[in-house]
Amino acid sequence: MPRLPHTSPQTLLVFECLLAAPDAWRYGYDLSRETGLASGSLYPILMRLADGSLLETRWEPAEQPGRPPRHLYRLTPDGAALAAERLARRAAAEADRVAPAARLRPRAAS
């Protein structure tokens, strides 16, 4: 089975961060600080999400002349739904890892 897209730990960090305030437009630098991801990890993730229409982007006009405009990011409704699903999937997988020890122990020696 091919690996499910958008499930890497790094992508999930970005999802958590964006879902914390789903309607807010976020700066790349702030996302980098909050997730602890270096720009070289963060931006490729943002690029992939934007390619899949999971992330919308816009340019914020510079407040001072001579400053470059900044790029802003927000999950699309599709993106928010996928992010919630992926985070829930990880939570379920973690619960599964902790629990089954008790379930599997009583095993008859053959």
Binding site: Y27, G28, Y29, A38, Y43, P44, M47, R70
Partner: protein, 214 residues
């Protein structure tokens, strides 16, 4: 916007980072590189700026397939040039197939993977016996286990006379020898002038420098 140390231009690290990224992004049509550069104003501290810039270079690399193709092509070209070299033929010992001071295309790599065989023309390093080396171009006549001898001017391998049109009928005179493991018996085509295994005996395969292609 937050007030950063960056008034216009920022610290030296910011300025260097901006130049580096601008160069890396020149000609890019995608917005992502510019997005990384725009955030540079927020980054404080030289180490953080360097980290941010390194990430920006990764982004630039990712989004610029043209550059990636160019770099890949350059690497392939370098590998090819390192493998195939043109060198001058140092002597008349391989005439008339290879004339002295004519040029030959030499493959320096693939013979290491495929091995060399009888009939191959190779560039060979031979010890002078006085601590130095000389380079010669010769044809492989015998490989490990072959017994080479000469009979009435014709070279015989394991008792069978060789058909050697490349010698133009020159007579060959040699001492019988069985080629040891890991060694090669080589002869120059121009039997009357060549110095080869008739003089210095079989040579280690490891001293082969390349195989002549053309």
């Amino acid at each position: 916007m937050t007030a950063t140390a960056a008034s216009r231009g920022g610290t030296a690290a910011h300025r260097v980072a901006r130049v580096v990224l601008t160069v890396a992004l020149a000609g890019s049509r995608s917005p992502w590189g510019a997005a990384v550069v725009a955030e540079l104003d927020q980054v404080t501290g030289t180490r953080a700026v360097l980290r941010w810039t390194a990430g920006g270079l990764r982004v630039a690399w990712r989004e610029r397939r043209g550059v990636r193709r160019t770099v890949a092509a350059a690497l392939v070209a370098t590998a090819v040039l390192a493998t195939f070299t043109v060198r001058y033929i140092p002597s008349a010992s391989m005439a008339p197939a290879l004339d002295v001071s004519s040029r030959a295309l030499v493959d320096r790599l693939t013979f290491r993977l495929t091995g060399v065989d009888r009939g191959d023309v190779v560039v060979l390093r031979v010890p002078t016996g006085m601590g130095g080396w000389f380079t010669t171009v010769d044809r492989i006549i015998g490989i490990a286990g072959d017994t080479i001898d000469c009979d009435e001017g014709r070279v015989r391998r394991n008792g069978a006379a060789l058909d050697e049109p490349y010698t133009r009928g020159a007579a060959t005179d040699c001492t019988p020898v069985t080629v040891p493991d890991g060694m090669l018996y080589v002869l120059g085509d121009n039997r009357t002038v060549a110095r080869d295994s008739r003089h210095y005996g079989p040579q280690p395969v490891g001293n082969v420098q390349g195989r002549v292609l053309a």
